[in-house]
Amino acid sequence: MKCGELQQRLPEMMAGRPSLEEQAHLRSCPECAGLVSDLNAIAEEARLLRAAEEPSPRVWNAIEVRLRQEGLIRPPQPTPERVPSFGKRWGWAGWLVPIAAALLIVVGVSVRQPSRTRQMADVQPPAQLEDVAYGGMDDDQLLQEVSAHAPMMRATYEQNLRNVNEYIRDAKSTLAEDPNDEEAREAVMEAYGQKAMLFRMALAPSLP
């Protein structure tokens, strides 16, 4: 079994038990094993979050800000319960949004593997979820995390984040000029890949 095949079967695999073939591949492939381990960690985290009364306001705030930027919700109305009500209305299922977002980014990074490069050229970037996809955390929140855990790295992350965002803007604007430009689409994926990597490094306990 190849990495690409396993990653295509990921949703089914995560829902049940890995087959013998999948288990064999996971034993021999640290990349896929790491990916599955990440997904399991997210699922485990989600179970823990389910037990909480309400999710952290930070998560809802990030989602709300992003949705507002996308024009999907109106500017704040005098209804202070907006964010909590989102959670209440959806109950624990509301967690599927950030979880799905996190899954998107994990899978997004993994499918960037070269064997699938050409296949990915046919996939549109997830325009609505693209920024929510970083674990519900925006750039400022990421920099706050870096400041808290590795203050000496903050300036480095800030500068790199700025550059990566510019990369994303340029790639998206090139794609907007010609939506059929496969290379531009690939550039968008590569730019997002850089940002995902930056977030992953900033949040990895061993890589402050």
Binding site: P30, P114, T117, N163, E182, G193, Q194, M197, A204, S206
Partner: protein, 303 residues
């Protein structure tokens, strides 16, 4: 009673003598301070060795927040880990499960970049797959033919003499140097670290950077797909005589320069605008080479 003018030479001599003495004392104090620091460091430093017997194609993972990791081939089926710990605020956790060895620097309360530092020298069977993580590095792997994955933020990364394997490197701003890779499946991502490839060939070689420079020096092998992309970093490709490649280069806002007489192509996927793109073949066009940047410069030149 002497005048002030009469006294001045004596005072000057006295002052100079006092300054000399104080200078000497200060120098002595500095030496003592340095000696204390060095002695303290030596006392705090400790070395530990770990050995593991493994089978073919073992997996070895080293996660080290602060400090370097160097991996070389061992002679037998043994993994040997030599760790130099720089204080007692860090421990080494080691674990072997089947054919997999995990080494982890465990930071204790109050550990920082200096006191939490551990330097590892690791010997592994040449066919082992290795995964190395360090924030500061340096990370180095050489003379192996198992898969190599290295990840670090500011860590300089070096991979040398790797064959028939995957080489995956990710850094934030650490520079990456990969050389003498044969039949490699190479993927390098660095946000702002410069990436240098020397004599790196294989079915797939991919480099992606935001602002780091990319230098490829080699012949692009005899088949394979090479894709070097950046946002603002310059891309230089230096090729020798006898190179066989189908090259396309494009800079959206930067310049491209081609010193090689390429055979023009009848069809390209983009419009060739002089000065910002070129495409053509050299030799038998065995490998596909794609060079892309938004605002960097691209330069294809002869070695």
């Amino acid at each position: 009673m002497g005048t002030g003018a009469d006294c001045a030479p004596d005072k000057r001599v006295g002052l100079e003598s006092w300054e000399r003495e104080m200078g000497s004392r200060k120098h002595t104090a500095e030496l003592v301070a340095i000696a204390v620091i060095v002695a303290g460091t030596l006392v705090a430093q400790s070395r530990k060795e770990y050995r593991f017997n493994v089978g073919p194609k073992a997996g070895v993972s080293v996660v080290n927040t602060y400090g370097g990791i160097s991996v070389k081939p061992s002679s037998g089926n043994t993994v040997v880990v030599n760790a130099t710990l720089y204080s007692n605020k860090v421990e080494v956790d080691s674990n072997q499960i089947g054919n997999r060895v995990d080494i982890h620097s465990h930071l204790l309360e109050g550990a920082d970049q200096n006191s939490g530092r551990v330097d590892y020298e690791v010997l592994v069977p040449a066919d082992a797959s290795i995964t190395l993580h360090s924030s500061t590095g340096p990370l180095r792997a050489e003379k192996l033919h198992g898969d190599v994955t290295m990840e670090g933020t500011a860590a300089p990364v070096v991979a040398d003499d790797i064959s028939n394997a995957h080489v995956h490197v990710r850094t934030l701003n650490g520079p990456v140097t990969v050389s003498n890779v044969e039949n490699g499946h190479v993927e390098i991502d660095s946000v702002s670290g410069d990436v240098t490839l020397r004599s790196v060939t294989g079915p797939f070689v991919l480099v992606n950077s935001t602002s780091g420079k990319i230098l490829y020096n080699g012949d692009f092998g005899n088949s394979g797909e090479y894709r070097l992309t950046s946002h603002s970093g310059d891309i230089d490709a230096v090729i020798p005589d006898g190179t066989s490649a189908d090259v396309s280069a494009r800079s959206v806002r930067g310049q491209v320069q081609d010193d090689i007489p390429l055979q023009p192509k009848s069809h390209t996927s983009f419009v060739i605008k002089k000065g910002s793109a070129f495409a053509g073949t050299v030799g038998k066009a065995a490998s596909s080479v794609v060079l892309r940047t938004f605002s960097g410069k691209i330069h294809l030149k002869k070695r």
